[in-house]
């Protein structure tokens, strides 16, 4: 049983590494946001699996909080790259896609 959790944890850690490479490589800002969002989802899975791996399922609470924060963070990052400001809705045409 522990072996299964360990295998799944290893798979997720490897995948988080691949995602991190994509978030550094870009090339567009959307690629980076997508990679960071995907990284956050995998972090949720990792926290849940480590909780069971170490026999402390209380970690699920942390996973819940992280799942909520991850979504808000993605939307906030997207809005920030669009407007350069989290409050304003001013649309400027000087956009940087790369």
């Amino acid at each position: 049983m522990i072996g299964i959790y360990a295998a799944a944890t290893a798979a997720i850690v490897v995948c988080m590494g691949l995602t991190l490479i994509r978030s550094i490589a870009g090339p567009t800002v959307f690629d980076r946001i997508l990679a960071v969002n995907s990284f956050g989802t995998k972090t949720v899975l990792l926290i849940a699996l480590i909780g069971y791996l170490s026999g402390r399922p209380d970690f699920l609470d942390l996973a819940l909080v992280y799942a909520l924060m991850n979504f808000i963070g993605t939307i906030a990052a997207m809005k920030f790259t669009r407007f350069g400001d989290l409050a304003g809705m001013e649309d400027d045409d000087s956009e940087e896609l790369y």
């Binding site: 049983m1 997720i12 690629d31 969002n37 993605t74 997207m78």
Partner: protein, 113 residues
Amino acid sequence: MASPIEVLSWVLILAGSVFVIIGGIGLLRLPDFYTRIHAAGITDTLGTWLILIGLMLHEGFSLGTAKLAMLLFFLLATGPLATHALAKAAYIRGLDPLQGRELVDRHEVDDNA
């Protein structure tokens, strides 16, 4: 000897891990942003679902299962929503798909938001 439920839980967790790996490789290897969204979607839905349902089967009928179900619901609601918003934002801001914009524009997507 493991019970059938336990074996099913192992199978689901391992299958979810395989899908997570496939999604990661796709995110790294696919050629453009819109195809990479497809790879990330596999991880966000199928991989997450299989692993969390596997953990639920292992946990049995308890508080942990309720928390896992809430986690499943949050990820189901937020993952595709974030991906969709990202794809729409990229399209509206002028990032071209590999095969050009004609395929989408033909279906009268309103992009004046």
